[in-house]
């Protein structure tokens, strides 16, 4: 058999996995791989910082459901991936990172650009590899894609030494996967499925608590059918926005710290939580000791370790959300036959009462300042909601989740678990690269924007026409909100500037269109102008109210019985 270099084996292995785009940045140790990439059909997007490449891979994976791939060289290249890997790990996003390592003969000698990438990345990846021989590359890459995309998805890193990339070996295609300890459960235990349905039919205040797992599993269709067959109220976590349409009558919206009153309170007063692919995150539960005190729990998760981690489950079901929802639906139909869905009359009337009493809302003073909710609502109206929305982290993220009506899965991309500021711009670029025909809009804050805006140079040069809305309130808005509410208005180190940087000039300097509105009257026209740009990235800056606060709010560690609906409740 003829032999080829490790670098060529790497490229052929990636091609066999169906990779169409890689986000990365070359350097010394990975040069050989980039040399082979030069001959490959795989598109490479040259990023300005490896963190951007990692988030692009994540945005790509979020939007397409396929594995996102990022390349980085040894040492600082690899350490710059730590944040995106930790981010993807928290949110169960399938990402494969290929990093180069110094030659195997130099490992441990503090060689130039050497870092212990394998050890550094271990706690923030689902699994990782150190490959020192060219004939081990094919198997490691294939296993990495398998691990990243099956079971509970997550990031996998493959660190390949320089001499493994330059050395040669025979390439026989994809290797058989040899992972004797890795057998994720797919189908739920039939006995548990039966027990779950029994419990649901006995309950009087059930809530279907849908998490990001329903989106990762592609289970939206089953979720909606199941909710409809049982007429269940559904709450969608921050990671699950769009898993059931917001326009669906059974949807109550997002629960938790900045959730809709009815969604949080429904969970709190529920007697049965049907958790599908959520993890009782502290942003949902508040203090878990006071969370949903009367509720029994059915917990469906592909990761057994999530079940019982925070909240004991009376009916634990390990399995894939899509498959288990299918099983649950079959069992419900078996139990109910031709009978119509249960009405839960009293429960629904209570829920409708709360919805009426405590809707989400905001007031836009026509004289200004601009409220972010107004920008988001206008943007939604002008696009008819037909866009992929990507958010950074903070106030703008919460308002985007609250005021954008999501109608389908994979159209809301954000950093939920890790809360990574600066996520939006690169993740939007990755999403746009994966979905060139969709409108991709990053809704960002000025603080987040200044962490990663340099990737707009990447977008402009690579012809990736993302749209970025910067909610400029000249502050780290959520920090300011907490300082106002909990730190006696002592605004320590949270103030930025409206004018520096000049975001419009900055956008233009990076090859994007730059637009600005600082009065409510100009919001619509600015958005229209920005949305019409198709040949370049566009940055729309809105100078917003620095004193606006996100409500409802459940102060951190508090009980979900005490929802603060507005400043008057404080």
């Amino acid at each position: 058999m003829t032999t080829i270099t490790g670098a060529e084996i790497l490229m052929r292995s990636l091609e066999l996995e169906g990779v169409d785009v890689v986000f990365g940045l070359p350097g010394g140790a990975i040069l050989k791989a980039y040399d082979s990439l030069y001959d490959s059909s795989i598109r490479h997007v040259l990023v300005r910082h490896e963190q951007g490449g990692g988030h692009m891979a994540s945005g790509y994976a979020h939007a397409t459901g396929r594995v996102g791939v990022t390349f980085a060289t040894s040492g600082p290249g690899a350490t710059n991936l730590v944040t995106p890997l930790a981010d993807a790990y928290m949110d169960s996003i399938p990402v494969v990172a290929i990093t180069a390592q110094v030659a195997s003969t130099s490992i441990g000698l503090d060689a130039f650009q050497e870092a212990h990438t394998w050890g550094i990345s271990m706690p923030c990846t689902k699994h990782n590899y150190l490959v020192t021989e060219p004939d081990e590359i094919a198997a490691a890459v294939h296993e990495a894609f398998h691990l990243a995309s099956t079971g509970r998805p997550g990031p996998v890193l493959v660190d390949i030494t320089k001499d493994a990339l330059t050395g040669t070996a025979a390439f026989g295609g994809r290797k058989i996967i040899d992972l004797p300890g890795y057998k994720p459960s797919v189908k739920g235990h039939p006995k548990q499925v039966k027990a779950a349905v029994d419990l649901i039919l006995e309950s009087s205040r059930p809530v279907l608590y849908a998490g990001g797992g329903t989106i990762r599993a592609g289970a939206s269709e089953e979720l909606v059918k199941f909710a409809e067959r049982l007429n269940l109220p559904v709450v969608t976590t921050l990671m699950a926005r769009g898993t059931i349409p917001d326009s669906h009558p059974n949807t109550l919206g997002m629960p938790g710290m900045h959730g809709v009153y009815t969604a949080s309170t429904a969970m709190q007063k529920s007697d049965l939580l049907i958790n599908i692919g959520a993890r009782f995150d502290d942003r949902v539960t508040g203090d878990p000791d006071f969370f949903a005190p009367d509720a029994a729990v059915i917990h469906v998760d592909v990761d057994p370790a999530e079940i019982g981690k925070i909240r004991e489950a009376q009916v634990p079901i390990v399995g894939d959300a899509k498959v288990v929802l299918g099983q649950l639906l079959t069992q419900v139909n078996k139990r109910l036959g031709d009978q119509p869905a249960p009405e839960w009359t009293e429960w629904w009337s209570t829920l409708r009462g709360w919805q009426e009493a405590h809707p989400l809302g905001y007031v836009q003073d026509p004289d200004g300042p601009i409220q972010q909710q107004h920008v988001i609502s206008e943007l939604h109206r002008l696009t008819s909601g037909d866009a992929i929305v990507v958010a950074g982290v903070g106030q703008h993220q919460m308002w985007a989740s609250q005021f954008w009506g999501f109608e389908r899965p994979n159209t809301w991309i954000n950093s939920g678990g890790l809360g990574t500021m600066g996520y939006a711009v690169p993740a939007a670029i990755g999403a746009q690269a994966g979905c060139p025909d969709d409108t991709v809009i990053a809704i960002d804050g000025d603080g987040c924007f200044q962490m990663t805006f340099q990737e707009l140079i990447t977008a402009a040069l690579e012809g990736i026409p993302v749209k970025v809305v910067v909610m400029n309130n000249a502050n780290l808005g959520m920090v300011r909100q907490w300082q106002r509410l909990f730190y006696s208005e002592r605004y320590s180190a949270s103030e930025l500037s409206f004018t520096n940087p000049d975001i419009v000039m900055l956008a233009e300097a990076m090859g994007c269109v730059g637009l600005r509105a600082d009065h409510p009257d100009d919001v619509t026209a600015t958005l229209e102008k920005g949305l019409a740009v198709e040949d370049r990235p566009v940055v729309m800056e809105f100078r917003c109210d620095p004193d606006a606060m996100v409500f409802p709010m459940i102060p951190a560690g508090g009980s979900n019985d005490n929802i603060v609906l507005g400043p008057e409740d404080l």
Partner: protein, 166 residues
């Protein structure tokens, strides 16, 4: 804090010990002792971990979550054969030496090194046996002590059944 005894069968691959100990650190689980070594199958290693903590459910699940983990078993007290080895060096003036050696012999300890003023014993046994010997030797003055950490193996299933029915 209660202790639990867990056997973990893992793939015999570089770095698996680091994965396990990193996971324990990351999840804030406390390791009392951890031993690792080869098994009857060269592709597998077995770890015996003694863990401090009230409940092992999360420990077991998080161990299983590691890709290289093949099997995790928690042993109920008395269910497994448990062994530990200890080397202990004690002060032993020539006048007291025979007294110390005699006491040690009762515990099945073996003198493995003798110096001008010390004797070093090796004891193999159940953790409790080692603890008792340790206590006894304190009266003579311990110069140095090292323990292997516990290894354990479940009792033969047939044997267990017979014991239960007996």
């Amino acid at each position: 804090m209660p202790q639990h005894l867990i056997s973990v069968t893992v793939e015999n691959k570089p770095g698996v010990l680091a994965r396990v100990s990193s996971m324990f650190a990351r999840r804030d689980f406390n390791i009392h002792s951890l031993t690792v070594g080869p098994t009857e199958d060269p592709t597998r290693s077995r770890m015996t971990v003694v863990v401090d903590g009230p409940v092992m459910e999360q420990v077991v699940k998080q161990l299983y979550k590691l890709v290289n983990t093949i099997k995790v078993s928690e042993h109920a007290p008395g269910e497994a054969i448990e062994r530990e080895i200890m080397l202990i060096r004690v002060n032993a003036d020539p006048q007291r030496r025979s007294e110390i050696v005699e006491a040690a012999t009762l515990f099945g300890a073996e003198a493995v090194d003798v110096g001008p003023s010390t004797v070093t014993f090796q004891v193999v046994g159940e953790p409790e046996q080692l603890a008792n010997f340790h206590e006894l030797m304190k009266t003579y003055g311990i110069v140095s002590l090292v323990k292997s950490g516990r290894i354990a193996m479940a009792r033969d299933a047939k044997n267990q059944k017979q014991q239960r029915s007996a």
